[in-house]
Each structure stands twice: as structure tokens, then as C-alpha cells.
Amino acid sequence: MDSLSTRVSIKPYARPPQGSQPPSLYEPYRATVKRAPLKPLVVLPHTLSEITGPIFGHDKVAENDHDLTCQHQGEPIGERIIVSGRVLDSNGRPVPNALIEIWQANSAGRYRHTKDQHPAPLDPNFTGAGRTLTDEQGAYRFISIKPGAYPWFNHYNAWRPAHIHFSVFGTAFISRLVTQMYFPGDPLFDYDPIFQSIPEERARQRLISKFDLETTRPQWAKGFKFDIVLRGPEATPFET
């Protein structure tokens, strides 16, 4: 090895354990059938291109972007919620300045999107989109209203459990995560192929937020906790 490559060696990122992530092809979720690759993926040894990624600053986030209840003249209809948690890497280190973007349906289960044909009312006071950056401890917080469940066309009488979409940037382009946060005790979990696509029960449970009395504000809003773990560099036994 020459001196340059010694000095700038690449530290690979850990790969998620088997069963902890959904496969690309999961037939019960019908839209995967024509959109999943069928040829083998080429295993990529990590290079600088994988272990680096975009860094965002406060220029990307306005003061009230984290509060989905105050983006219009009036308040949106629905059950007020405070969703908070931490973003950590798989070594347990907080991920500061991680850009989190969320989007969701309104309390009636309708998205403010031209292609959402569910005949439920739109709420003039709710867009359903927000963003924030994690602080130095990796902590984040959103204020919103609880989204409603909604029907879709995957199979007869298909309903999605209530969820909030999360998009998160970590320290590397390959630690990028787009996921969905669910609410505890939803009766639709057993019938939802998107939730069920994750092979391991324990992994599925990681997507269910927990009711949290501590962050619940009396007479105002219920608190839910949702911690997020992103892929981090491979841990070495010598690391301190």
C-alpha cells in the first residue's frame, strides 16, 4: 500500500443483519412485482463514494418547519401529537445535524396530493409536511396531528395503518433511510403487506412508536417516542 492510501484508508460501513430489512420483492405488496430487480445485486466494497454523503445546514430548515399544526391560518382538525426521539448510528453514537423530512395524511386519512383519490375531506389548515435537523445529541421533535388510516388498492378492502413517512440523512449516502413510523396497537398491522414485508418480528416492532407520558403535554397533546438507528461505520474491537 502506498503512503497516500494508508493515510486516507476507507472505513467500511456495517451491513444490516439478515431479516432486519425488507426484501425488494414481496409479492403481497403487489407494486413490488414489476419494480424489484430479479438479477443478483453486485456486492460493492465501500469506497469514498459510499461512505460520504450530503451535509445539510440550518439553511434548509425554517423555524416552524417542525410544527405541522401552525403552517396555516387556523389549526388543523385532529388529535394533536408530539413525536420526538433520537437518531443514533449502529454504534450508538448520536447523529447531529441529520436532516429529517416527514409527510403524512391528515386526520381523515387524506394526503394533500393530486393522486390521492380517497374520498375523505382535505383539511385547509393541514399540508402534512415538515422538516427538522437533529441537535447535538441527535434529538428531534415534531408537532403534528395523528394521521388517519386510509384505503388503497393493493387487494380487496386494503387499509394502511396510520403512519408518518420519515426521510433521514445520516453521515453517509448509504446510511440514507426512508421509512414509516406507526402508532402502538394499530389493528391494521396484521393486514398490511408493507409493514409485514419486514421478515423479523423484532425488526417490525422498531417501526412502532411508543406512547410517552413524559413528553405528553397536559391538556394539549399526546407524546410519542420514535428512535431511529442509521447504519454506522463497522466497529473495530480496538476502538475506544
Binding site: R35, L48, S167
Partner: protein, 193 residues
């Protein structure tokens, strides 16, 4: 401190059909990776996303990550002794339209080290309804002399390498085409990262 069992990465879920209300609004799309001051040869890449039936995917999002014209990434872990182009971020985000296409304006990146140089390339992550996790691929440039020595292209079966090569538009210098075929005979090479 969290227990180790809790430190398994959070599972991915599909971005679904409605991400455009946040991720790809006019304000949040990044159709131009390289600002007007960025050095290097300007490139306009028309991406087209197709499903296993060859049907255009009209609800996909592509995210792009790339180095500047010197092959330097704007990231603290890039320790290459190169100077970063001032103002360079290197991130792009585009959404496909009804015909399954979208255009990205950027510059051709430089070769990326350290050690053995990688040929100029863009890293792409594809998100869409019907995709439970993103697919990662790379865009290389047809005719680039460095392609032959690129160790990642060398891992790809020779008959599939062309799926990773952007094709120049013969009539328009600087314009390129890149098809993302999610499935089928000419399926794009995707990487297990």
C-alpha cells in the same frame, strides 16, 4: 446508552406514492447539482425509469451524490489531498414525470481516490412506490478513458456493464441519457451496498 440489540438499523419502508408533498416540492428538488460557479464540464443527464414491463415509472425519486470536478467530495471523511470547489455540495434530487423521465444538470466529476482511482461517476439512489428499500446504482460516462481501469466496473459482469454507462446525445454535446431499468433482460446493475 442503548442496548446492542436496539442498535440494529431501523427497517426501510417504501416512500409510497405521495412523497412529493415534502421531498420533491419545487423548493426541495435539487435539479442542478452544480451551481453556476462550479468548475468542470457541464452535463445534462436525462434519466428514464422503467419497470419490468418497460412501462415508464412516473412516481420515482432519484437522489444523486457525486464529487466535484477534481474528484473531491464535500464531506469530512474525504481525506484526499485535494481542494474542494468552493460552494460545492454534490447532492441532487429529481422526480420523474408522467413519461418516467427527469433531467439533472451537473458537471462531470473527476476521478476519485484514494489509492487506485475510480473513474468519474455519480452514485444514484432510486426510491418509489413499490420499492421497499432504495436501489443503488452508478452512472459512468461512455468513452471515459478511466472506465477500463475502474475497479467497481470490473466487478460487474462484462455483458451488463453498459447498463451503467450514460450514452451521449449525438446531436447535443453535454447531453446524456441514462435508463434505470428496474427489472428485465436489460435490467440496470444495482449494487448491494
Amino acid at each position: 446508552m442503548k442496548r446492542d440489540t436496539d442498535l440494529v438499523p431501523t427497517p426501510s419502508q417504501t416512500a409510497g406514492p405521495f412523497f412529493a408533498i415534502e421531498l420533491t416540492t419545487d423548493e426541495h428538488c435539487v435539479k442542478c447539482v452544480a451551481g453556476p460557479q462550479a468548475g468542470g464540464e457541464r452535463a445534462w443527464i436525462t434519466f428514464r425509469v422503467l419497470d419490468g414491463d418497460g412501462v415508464p415509472v412516473n412516481d420515482a425519486m432519484l437522489e444523486i451524490w457525486q464529487a466535484d470536478s477534481n474528484g473531491k467530495y464535500n464531506h469530512p471523511d474525504d481525506m484526499q489531498p485535494k481542494k474542494l470547489d468552493p460552494g460545492w455540495r454534490g447532492f441532487g434530487r429529481v422526480a420523474t414525470g408522467e413519461d418516467g423521465t427527469c433531467v439533472l444538470e451537473t458537471i462531470r466529476p473527476g476521478c476519485v481516490g484514494p489509492g487506485t482511482q475510480q473513474a468519474p461517476h455519480l452514485t444514484i439512489a432510486v426510491f418509489a412506490r413499490g420499492m421497499l428499500k432504495p436501489l443503488y446504482t452508478r452512472v459512468y460516462f461512455t468513452g471515459d478513458a478511466a472506465n477500463d481501469e475502474d475497479s467497481i466496473l470490473g466487478l460487474v459482469p462484462p455483458e451488463r456493464r453498459e447498463t451503467l454507462l450514460a450514452r451521449p446525445d449525438p446531436g447535443r454535446p453535454g447531453y446524456w441519457f441514462f435508463d434505470v431499468r428496474l427489472q428485465g433482460d436489460r435490467e440496470t446493475v444495482f449494487f448491494d451496498v
